[in-house]
């Protein structure tokens, strides 16, 4: 290292140490004003954050004459592009939730809190809010000063603009949420003509206030004290999980760079104790204390540390994605040798297969048969036995359909009340009472299986079939 380089380095670290005095560990009593530095992880974070644009823009996608994705709760219909899912097919939702739960687990097992650090709405919205704050109020030190400054016109103006922008974002967030559940175009018409319904207004107000408070004020405290997911991290992470880690073998004992010191003479580790990793941390933790619940693993400290390492001429990666095992010199277990990966993958695959099966076998019509219990059966004057059934025809198509009902399974049975096809209304359940009569000679017990079959025909003549097993009761 030449003298020139040394003096350059000394000037750089001097500025860093001056700043270092301002940072201390977050205990929740002071607003965290994290410093923003660039870097590849910062860029990646912006990219992952931008996925949330789907949340805002998705509802404006159209499919034919309706919204492409619409969770129409009042009409109990979920539209997903070409598919309409009725509550009867809701079991698929539990598989979808299972899929995401396990996806979360598998990602956490492999690379830590990726969701928290890069995707979570709390992280992303807080990030955007503090970005606005920095644009308006300046660097962290200036913000802290402004916070402490007495009330002045200038302070009110700056803060006022900030809060206004925050509220606008919060309001748009509310609109984004609602437009997944009501038609987006109609929503804007209602909004601009002040014709919103009570539910929409309440939802909008809740989301506006919620977003404003959570992203504007609670911030990392939500991750610390509110979020249950943050609480269950520890069980998903193990020694093979690669997470942002401070390489204490390399860094310790940390020591400040002394002016004019030769790099070869130093007795300290690579960590120059500049506290930049703490300064940039959005939750205010110190990564050098090791894995901790306050760390959302957003990797911003990696960027900060690498910048410093470059400045002081030491190799980068003092803080990097690394597992505890490799950090301690053990061989890294390959992914395929980790049982968690196998188990999680199996569950993931199962839920995916289930959803695929469900979507591919969505019936156009579905019948349910309810056997009347009082009386179980009626003896007719000719001695034949009559049973009463309520057949419920669910039509999942978008148009009404004529459905013919037949029954089979008992010799000589006669279906009464279904001689004409039944018009089943689309998207609804149409109930129909029918009677089945069986001659006494063919009664073989007090409970016999009977199979109902419904054949619906749409306007193109395509038949849709649904079958349902029931019982025929007799005197035995």
């Amino acid at each position: 290292m030449s003298d020139n380089q040394k003096s350059q380095r000394d000037a750089a670290v001097e500025a860093l140490y001056e700043e270092a005095g301002h940072w201390h560990i977050n205990t929740g009593d002071e607003t965290i004003h994290a410093k923003r530095v660039g870097g590849k992880w910062r860029t990646l974070k912006w990219l992952t954050s931008s996925l949330w644009l789907i949340y805002f823009l998705g509802p404006y996608l159209r499919w034919g004459d309706r919204q492409a994705v619409l969770f129409d709760i009042p009409n109990r219909q979920f539209h997903l592009f070409g598919v309409t899912i009725l509550p009867q097919d809701f079991w698929m939702l539990s598989l979808l939730l299972l899929f995401f739960a396990i996806l979360l687990a598998v990602v956490t097992a492999v690379a830590g809190r990726v969701w928290c650090g890069f995707f979570c709405f709390q992280t992303v919205w807080t990030d955007v809010y503090t970005w606005i704050e920095e644009k308006l109020e300046g660097a962290p030190a200036k913000r802290q000063k402004l916070d402490k400054a007495p009330l002045s016109f200038e302070k009110i103006r700056t803060k006022g603009v900030k809060h206004l922008l925050w509220l606008i974002i919060a309001f748009i967030t509310g609109i984004g949420f609602i437009t997944w559940f009501v038609d987006a175009q109609q929503f804007w018409i209602d909004l601009l003509s002040f014709n919103l319904g009570t539910t929409a207004l309440i939802t909008l107000a809740l989301f506006t206030v919620g977003t404003y408070v959570l992203a504007g004020f609670l911030r990392e405290q939500a991750c610390f004290w509110l979020c249950p997911y943050a609480r269950i991290q520890a069980v998903m992470v193990d020694n093979s999980t690669a997470v942002p880690t401070y390489d204490f073998h390399r860094g310790e004992p940390r020591g400040r760079v002394k002016k004019g010191q030769n790099e070869d003479d130093r007795t300290t580790g690579d960590c120059v104790d500049c506290n930049q990793c703490v300064a940039v941390c959005p939750t205010g933790v110190d990564i050098r204390h090791g894995q901790q619940e306050g760390c959302i693993m957003c990797a911003l400290c990696i960027d900060a540390c690498d910048i410093v390492m470059e400045k002081v001429g030491r190799p980068t990666g003092l803080i990097r994605y690394e597992s505890l095992d490799t950090l301690n010199g053990k061989e890294d277990r390959p992914l395929l040798k980790r049982p968690r990966v196998w188990i999680y993958t199996a569950v993931l695959a199962l839920s995916l297969v289930g959803i695929a099966y469900g979507l591919s076998t969505l019936d156009a019509i579905e019948i349910k048969v309810i056997h009347d219990r009082q009386p179980l059966f009626v003896v007719q004057s000719d001695g034949s036995i009559q049973n009463k059934y309520t057949v419920k025809i669910l039509n999942k198509m978008t148009e009404d359909m004529d459905v013919a009902i037949t029954a089979s399974g008992l010799e000589g049975l006669q279906v009464i009340g279904a001689d004409k096809p039944i018009t089943s209304q689309h998207g609804k359940v149409t109930p129909k009472t029918i009677f089945v009569r069986v001659p006494p000679a063919n009664i073989g017990g007090d409970s016999m299986p009977i199979l109902f079959r419904a054949v619906g025909t749409d306007k193109n003549g395509q038949p849709f079939v649904s079958e349902r097993q029931s019982v025929f009761m007799g005197p035995g």
Partner: protein, 286 residues
């Protein structure tokens, strides 16, 4: 109570027990005070908006609240809402005959749904909740009708009531004649016995023993009985009992009782129409 406070400067009330147990004057937490005052504001606002205070002793009434809300009003609004939905059907029903209602898919579906209450109030006590009948009371869900199972017959039965008559034959027939007739009836072939013709059974039950709807006489050839045997009684004994003691015969104190009261006075014509449709659709209507 010590004159000298042993814990000066800590804002206690001066109440000290057991040497050091003492009451402090710390304010409640902020969130608690906010909730407390919010409750007070809520209480005042409630009193302004809703009826709240009774009148002073000796006078009548209560504070009405600015919105004039009452439970009765809300209830009546709810009823009116339901009535508005029903009115559409009810006005249509009023102008139609029971047969017309039966033939209209929508109206008969409405009737089946709404007349359930009428049936429960007026019919279920004897005929069972689902028309399955009861000891001594006819089944309404089968296809065996004394007075006919057409919609008009059912409507008439409800309106004017029914009281079938069968004379007691205990004093007219010898026990062996009762036996022979009863056996023929149980076999489903009453006309196979010459007594059926000789003793005049045909007058009411018809030459073929199939009964006459005009009289309400039972069909003796089918497998259903108007009077089902009691617990432990054989079908034959039950039939013999009916032959000997008759039905509604005032001269025999042991006679079978079978009276359907008239509902023409008790129910409106629309209600009777609805009940007729409901009964017809129970499963045995013809």
């Amino acid at each position: 109570m010590a004159d000298k406070n042993p814990f000066p400067g800590e804002n206690n009330t001066g109440h000290i027990w057991d040497d050091n147990l003492r009451e402090l004057k710390n304010p409640p937490p902020r969130w608690w005070m906010i909730a407390f005052w919010a409750s007070v504001i809520w209480w005042i606002a409630y009193g302004v908006i809703y009826p709240m205070w009774p009148a002073l002793p000796g006078s009548q009434g209560y504070t009405k609240g600015v919105t004039g809300w009452t439970q009765m009003k809300e209830y009546n609004e709810g009823v009116a809402e339901v009535e508005a939905v029903r009115a559409e059907f009810e006005t249509k029903l009023a102008g139609l005959s029971a047969a017309d209602i039966l033939n209209d898919e929508g109206l008969s579906a409405y009737t089946v749904a709404s007349a359930k209450v009428l049936f429960g109030d007026n019919c279920a006590a004897c005929h069972g909740r689902s028309g399955q009948g009861g000891p001594g009371f006819p089944v309404l869900v089968d296809d065996d009708w004394l007075y006919g199972g057409a919609i008009e017959n059912i409507e008439q039965t409800i309106t004017i009531g029914r009281k079938g008559i069968m004379t007691a034959h205990a004093n007219v027939l010898k026990p062996e004649e009762v036996d022979e007739l009863a056996n023929a009836v149980v076999a489903g072939k009453p006309e196979s016995s010459p007594l059926f013709l000789q003793k005049g059974c045909i007058a009411c039950h018809g030459m073929d023993g199939k009964g006459m709807a005009a009289l309400g006489s039972a069909n003796l050839t089918d497998s259903l009985y108007r009077f089902v045997p009691q617990e432990g009684q054989s079908v034959l004994d039950s039939v013999k009992y009916t032959i000997m003691h008759g039905v509604n015969d005032p001269t025999d104190p042991s006679t079978r009782q079978a009276v359907m009261p008239a509902f023409g006075e008790r129910l409106s014509q629309d209600d009777i129409k609805k009940l007729a449709v409901y009964v017809h659709r129970l499963g045995g209507g013809q």
